[in-house]
């Protein structure tokens, strides 16, 4: 059993012991158990956050595959005249390339085919591919110098999600769940939703370890909300067994368990009773969450036409807002299909169409409900893409290989300074020129927004105190409000 469960159960026992040495009646049981201990599905390790939190929740819009920063956020007009010329090897330096382009004889620069314009009061340069995001520039902080050592998908996505390239460690969501616990007694504290991108024919895979709990107790892992069928696995009762019957059933099972408890006295039985009660509550709370029929038209329109397609990114964004309203701690969306090695202009445009409007709508929607101020919204992938083209450059097409040295992520909401761009890449959008933000720094900063000192949220495993940021990570104060 993990130390936390131990600790909380010890509290139960003290109360139990204090009351009576004989047995306990059913009625007495409920009053004995401290309700706040079972407030949510997961109990927090910390009594309270290390700092006053700016945010209580995170919505992470993960763009799986590595969206091209050159075609979206990092404007390099000077590359236009260098289009098709060879990227100087001094710029590349000793970078290790993936086996896909290390065999390429030449590295011709592919300037973005897309136009950039300035937007908002902040004057941020945004590509024409994401006009809706352009509308919210004054609410977001764009960090252009995120960097990672990973060069391939599996290690890179594992790295940004768990703090290490090797599998085995808890995901960001699991750490936060562990640290802060749940705020909602009827829904999981960590929810995951996956959507399929329009350019997803060769979409890079995902792994359940990305929302897994690693060595943390598995109750902290993310729960996958499916786009079709039961949102949570096995949520619905089997055909022929309705809600009334289910209530009757659970009452019966709990009575049996109480009887067991009286005979055996094992506190785990008491815990199981409350799990069944929570399961029952989820059978109402989850469908209620997923039912968007009460949403007004103008809200639905804000997210775009896909919002009515269950399982689409837009639909998931709307659900994310609803989850946030219900105080779900960590909401992670994955949109797959950003790995544009070839045919980039066409494919990235269709990917952007999937996500641009809903992402911006989500921010706007949260803001107008006063939720943005205590929710951190993150948008980005596991790495960026190369300035040089992978394969041929034609008038209408080019490809880009993986690039970890610099890429862009935007953040908004609780604790994040709005309307800024942070970090400068060099003229070739190849290296960081100023203010690098390593993935560890990024994760440390996210934790800080939620009031957590990344160096102090630890878990002992194999004789060592592990943490999300391992032995690294510096908070980027400049992007904190």
């Amino acid at each position: 059993m993990n130390p936390l469960q131990e600790r909380s159960l010890l509290l139960t026992r003290r109360q139990f012991f204090g009351r009576s040495a004989a047995g306990i009646g059913t009625a007495a049981l409920a009053s004995l158990l401290n309700p706040s201990l079972f407030a949510g599905m997961t109990r927090s390790a910390l009594e309270k956050p290390h700092f006053a939190p700016k945010a209580k929740r995170v919505i992470y819009l993960f763009m799986s595959g590595g969206p091209s920063q050159l075609d979206l956020f990092d404007y390099k007009p000077n590359l236009q005249k260098l289009h098709k010329t060879e990227l100087p090897s001094s710029v590349r330096g000793m970078q290790r390339l993936t086996g896909m382009t290390s065999g390429q004889g030449t590295f011709p620069i592919a300037a973005s085919l897309f136009k950039f314009n300035q937007h908002g009061k902040s004057g941020a340069w945004i590509s024409e591919l994401i006009p809706h995001t352009a509308e919210i520039v004054d609410d977001i902080a764009i960090v252009k110098t995120i960097n990672t050592e990973a060069i391939n998908h599996d290690p890179a996505v594992t790295f940004i999600q768990t703090g290490a390239q090797q599998p085995g460690r808890p995901s960001v969501g699991a750490w936060l769940n562990y640290g802060l616990g749940s705020m909602n007694s009827d829904l999981p504290a960590f929810v995951v939703m996956i959507s399929r991108g329009s350019a997803a024919r060769d979409a890079q895979p995902l792994y359940s370890r990305l929302w897994g709990s690693g060595f943390l107790p598995s109750e902290y892992q993310g729960v996958n909300f499916r786009g079709s069928g039961d949102p949570v696995l096995f949520l619905s009762n089997p055909p022929g067994l309705d809600g009334t019957m289910r209530k009757r059933f659970i009452d019966g099972v709990n009575k049996l368990n109480q009887s067991e408890y009286e005979s055996f006295g094992d506190p785990e039985i008491a815990a199981r009773i409350s799990q069944y009660e929570m399961a029952y509550r989820m059978q109402s709370s989850v469908p209620e969450l997923a039912d968007i029929s009460s949403e007004p038209e103008h809200i639905l329109d804000m997210y775009g036409p896909d919002v009515r397609k269950p399982g689409s990114f837009a639909a998931n964004c709307l659900l994310a807002r609803r989850l946030a309203e219900r105080n779900v701690r960590f909401i992670q969306l994955y949109h797959r299909g950003w790995d544009q090695h070839g045919d980039l202009p066409k494919d990235i445009a269709s990917q952007c169409k999937d996500v641009d409007q809903p992402s911006a709508a989500l921010v706007k929607d949260l803001k107008q409900r006063g939720l943005l101020e205590d929710t951190v919204v993150i948008w980005g992938g596991e790495f960026g893409r190369t300035t040089y083209s992978q394969g041929q450059i034609t008038a209408t097409s080019y490809g880009r290989d993986h690039h970890g040295r610099c890429f862009s992520i935007w953040m908004a909401g609780g604790g994040i300074k709005p309307g800024i761009s942070y970090g400068q890449t060099d003229d070739f959008c190849y290296n960081v020129a100023e203010n690098p933000v390593h993935i560890h720094d990024f994760n440390a900063t996210v934790l800080r927004c939620l009031g957590i000192n990344h160096e102090k949220l630890t878990y002992r495993f194999q004789g060592r105190d592990f943490r999300l940021t391992d032995v690294h990570g510096n908070i980027v104060n400049e992007i904190l409000a």
Binding site: G99, R226, G252
Partner: protein
């Protein structure tokens, strides 16, 4: 313990330790075939293989003397780590990961040592130095596996594990194939004699004399020094650039040259006394280029185009024709690093070259391959004048087909008789039928096979040019469906108005070709249905000699190389040996059947050492490319050393792990047995016996159990019995307030164990209670029900689909459930089964609402409840209270109290009432699950009992062991 279920139960735990899975783990998580290893584990436990043998076979079964198939299968343990096939992954990086995983696994499972930290720095608390980590990893760094698994199910090394029947059948096939091959290719006195005569005949006809050419000028573009030797060969010395081009100028007296020969000659001054300038002695000639000019006008240069080449030897992938293909990334190579022989290659131009006043010939030898310094070191050129032999050798040059048509008519006859445009004249720019029909290039039409056309009652024209440097006769072999006419240079040479199906060689015509370009026009007419044509050229009197065969016969002289001998025999037999076709077809079919059989034989991954061990280095800060000092296999100094007598290899390590002097293995292992039965080990941190782990709660007991284990001869069953029959184990697991106060976690073992069962046991119990559990043991993994789309939504390209098994698959024991690392079975992970990405020796035990949902609503459990309900209705009479007692006892091994009976009875009565009113709901509930529904049971009653049974399956007492 005598039942085979014992082995399954024990194996189940071991699979966590071995990190067994049915997929590779990284990137696209491709399927993996290693289930034979799982069978081995089950079998090993059932046979009560002693733990030391169990250990040795898994870590180094392949290295045992005369290793049996079973021992090799066991060595699959080492291969159970995750592997990647991701494009672009760096090999060294992943080799390091694999070796590290193996060290950590062995460290955790046998030594209770968490060595992972030592990858980057010396372990602070336990005395494992960083160097020692890498020394340990060196034991596992020489397995002959590729770094990237290629996304294939069983990357090498692997072995086939045929059943007895399969092995026998394979043997039969092998014998048949050998016999057929012998007939086809083996010596045959009559055929061989005939072949010899045939070779002699052609060698004479095709014989061509070469005259060595003395170079006038020689130059190396790359800066090497080229020296003329007395025998007209040229030797390269001095600067040795990575790439080079040699230019040789020759002067030839008046006359035409029909072929050019290049020799690569051995020389003592060259590396390895080879014919090349490379370190290993191999060369790659990427291109041979020749330019000619009249001696009188040296500026009037013309490129010679070569149409065929032959060499006395070429290595796989580097045929000599690469040297005339115009590509700089292909070339001719002949294993110069292995074969120390002179080499000869001959090149035939499109047409003979040379001027009446004498010719300047510039020969350029290019060595532009990616292999550095792979230039020929000593070479010689020779030229052959035009001869009869060369005449015969120069192949005809066919352009690709141009097609015009179809020209539709009222009937096939009409189409045959009407003279359409192409018959009148050939103009490839001309269009017909008001532009509706025009000449279209058809590069996809090939010789020697039927080419399909389209159109009913139509005529189609096919046109191509045939170039030859000499006037000669040629034989064209034709086939058509249906009618055909052929013109050569405007002269009608075939006129056949037939209706037939297509087949090769239906008509053979002999035609006269002029020097230069000839025009060949076909008109193929379709009456109805099938429409196609067939064309295959061969040479007059050529016995269908291919250019390669012809050149072998012409240029090889007396000494034929092995490659040439094989080629000639194959060609001769193919064309002249009677019954060859039938035998060949039989061979092909047999090989096909064998392939089908092979596909069914299970394969499993095994370990196998490389002949030369890989170098292992200490890695600075654990970085794969930061090599510190080189290290050799060794064990940490804090533990007893390896026995002196053995070689320091994986086998030595395996033996060392179970050596009597090793203080750890027995303790760590018995502790896990204790953990299994008591929920927590004597050492709680079963994976960590080091100073950061917990101290044992009962140190003397642990010591005693450990020594007992070793003294018993590592008898696993003995240890299980010992623990299970102990008084400690038999204690009641009741928790009283006093016990809870003094020993909340039961570490002091004042009471019997009580803890929730593992995922597999919960599911297996439910299936067994429902009378559904399939008893088959072993075999490949199976797929029970799963909510749709789980694999799809995470898989590469959304391509993978989970298709549940029909039949008994969904009812097999959970240990056989297909384990996909990227998306493990949700029913298992909900109950804390680890992902199997890494080794696990201790599972968590959580209590979550998702578990509740699973037990209540997962179709497998609903179906199991239905099965249990059926048993309640048919196996225990009609008294409801007795039925409840029956099921309760089955589930918990206890009798229910009256209170408990009442609760369940109340559920039954209320459900029964509801299902009587709503019979449809009852039927719906009963329809969950694939197992068939028994006849004769009242659905309302059955559905009500199903609810009761489900309640019993959901009880804490059912899922908890006490």
């Amino acid at each position: 313990m005598d039942s085979t279920r014992y082995g399954e139960q024990m194996a189940r735990y071991w699979l966590d330790h071995a990190r067994y899975a049915d997929s590779h783990g990284y990137h696209i998580d491709a399927p993996r075939m290693v289930w034979k290893y799982r069978e081995w584990v089950i079998d090993a436990y059932n046979k009560n293989k002693p733990f030391d043998q169990f250990t040795i076979e898994q870590i180094a079964g392949d290295m045992l003397p005369d290793a049996t198939l079973s021992q090799k299968i066991a060595s699959g343990f080492n291969r159970c780590n995750m592997s990647t096939g991701e494009g672009g992954a760096i090999e060294d990086e992943y080799r390091v990961k694999y070796a590290a995983d193996r060290v950590e696994t062995v460290g955790t499972v046998w030594l209770g040592l968490t060595v992972g930290c030592a990858q980057c720095h010396s372990h602070k608390y336990d005395p494992i130095a960083q160097k020692e980590f890498y020394q340990l990893s060196a034991f596992f760094n020489s397995i002959a596996e590729p770094a990237l698994d290629g996304n294939v199910p069983a990357p090498e090394p692997k072995i086939k594990v045929p059943s007895k029947e399969q092995a026998a059948e394979e043997e039969k096939f092998n014998q048949k194939i050998a016999a057929l091959k012998e007939k086809l290719e083996g010596p045959n006195t009559d055929l061989d004699r005939a072949q010899q005569e045939w070779e002699k005949k052609w060698a004479e006809k095709l014989h061509t004399d070469f005259f060595v050419a003395s170079p006038v000028e020689v130059k190396s573009i790359g800066g090497a020094t080229l020296k003329n030797l007395d025998d007209s060969s040229i030797l390269a010395e001095g600067t040795n650039p990575d790439k080079d081009t040699y230019e040789v100028l020759l002067r030839h007296p008046p006359g035409k040259i029909g072929a050019i020969r290049l020799e690569a000659l051995l020389d003592d001054s060259l590396p390895n006394k080879s014919a090349a300038r490379s370190e290993n002695g191999n060369f790659v000639l990427t291109e041979l280029e020749v330019e000619t000019a009249p001696i009188a006008e040296p500026k009037r240069r013309e490129r010679v185009r070569f149409v065929s080449a032959t060499a006395d030897y070429a290595q796989e992938g580097f045929p000599v024709t690469n040297a005339i293909d115009g590509k700089s990334d292909t070339g001719w190579a002949a294993e110069g690093h292995k074969r120390k022989e002179n080499r000869t290659a001959t090149f035939i131009p499109e047409k003979p070259f040379g001027y009446s006043g004498g010719t300047e010939i510039r020969v350029r030898l290019r060595f532009d391959s990616q292999f550095p310094k792979h230039a020929i070191g000593r070479f010689r050129l020779a030229l052959a004048p035009v001869s009869e032999g060369l005449r015969l050798l120069t192949p005809l040059q066919f352009s690709s087909w141009q097609m015009a048509g179809p020209f539709a008519a009222e009937s096939g006859q009409a189409a045959f008789e009407t003279e359409y445009g192409p018959e009148k004249k050939i103009d490839l720019t001309e269009t017909f039928n008001e532009g509706k029909v025009k000449w279209v290039a058809k590069p996809e039409f090939t010789d020697g096979k039927a080419n399909e056309l389209s159109g009913e009652n139509s005529a189609t024209y096919l046109y191509r040019t045939v170039r030859t440097p000499f006037a000669q006769k040629a034989t064209f072999s034709l086939g058509s469906d249906d009618a055909i006419k052929v013109w050569v240079n405007g002269k009608l040479v075939l006129d056949k108005n037939v209706q037939r199906g297509i087949a090769p060689d239906q008509d053979k015509i002999s035609v006269e070709l002029n020097e230069g370009e000839n025009q060949l026009l076909l008109k193929v007419v379709n009456y109805s249905s099938g429409y196609a044509f067939y064309f295959n050229p061969s040479r007059e009197e050529s016995d269908s000699l291919t250019p390669e065969i012809a050149q072998i016969l012409a240029f090889s002289g007396k000494e034929l190389s092995e490659q040439h001998k094989t080629a000639l025999r194959k060609f001769y037999r193919q064309n002249f040996s009677p019954g060859w076709k039938e035998l060949s077809a039989e061979l092909a079919q047999t090989q096909d059947e064998m392939k089908k059989l092979d596909a069914q034989i299970p394969v499993t991954m095994v370990s196998k050492e490389l002949e030369t061990p890989r170098d292992t280095y200490l890695l600075v800060r654990g970085q794969y490319d930061a090599h510190g000092e080189k290290v050799f296999p060794n064990v940490p100094s804090v533990l007893p050393p390896l026995p002196h007598s053995d070689k320091t290899n994986r086998l030595a390590l395996a033996k060392w792990l179970v050596d009597k002097e090793n203080p750890l293995t027995a303790r760590v292992t018995v502790n896990r047995y204790w953990q299994r039965y008591f929920g927590t080990g004597l050492v709680k941190t079963a994976e960590d016996f080091g100073s950061q782990g917990e101290a044992p709660s009962h140190p003397e007991l642990l010591d005693w159990l450990a020594t007992e284990f070793m003294n018993s001869g590592w008898d696993i069953k003995h240890m299980q019995k010992l623990i299970l029959t102990s008084a400690t184990y038999k204690q009641s697991s009741r928790v009283t307030p006093e016990l809870l106060h003094s020993d909340p976690q039961n570490r002091l073992l004042a009471r019997g164990p009580r803890f929730r069962m593992d995922a597999e046991m919960i599911r297996d119990t439910a299936l067994a209670l429902g009378g559904l559990l399939a008893e088959k043991i072993g075999g490949p993994s199976v797929k029970p029900y799963q909510p749709p789309g789980l694999w799809t939504e995470v898989s590469y390209g959304f391509k993978e689909d989970y298709v549940p098994d029909k039949g008994e698959g969904p009812y097999r024991r959970s240990m056989y459930t297909y384990w996909k690392r990227q998306s493990p079975p949700p029913g298992m992970t909900t109950f804390d089964a680890p992902s199997r990405e890494v080794c696990s020796v201790r599972r968590q035990r959580t209590n979550t609402p998702l578990q509740a949902l699973e037990l209540m609503n997962d179709p497998q459990y609903v179906e199991a409840a239905r099965g249990l309900a059926r048993r309640m209705m048919t196996e225990c009479g009609s008294n409801p209270e007795k039925c409840i007692e029956f099921a309760y006892r089955l589930a918990t091994s206890r009798k229910p109290s009256q209170n408990e009976i009442n609760v369940l009875k109340e559920i039954f009565e209320k459900q029964f009432a509801d299902y009587q009113t709503n019979r449809e709901a009852a039927l719906k509930l009963l329809s969950v699950g694939e197992s068939k529904q028994a006849d004769g049971l009242n659905p309302s009653e059955w559905a009500a009992w199903t609810t009761v049974a489900s309640a019993i399956l959901n009880m804490d007492a059912t899922v908890t062991k006490s």
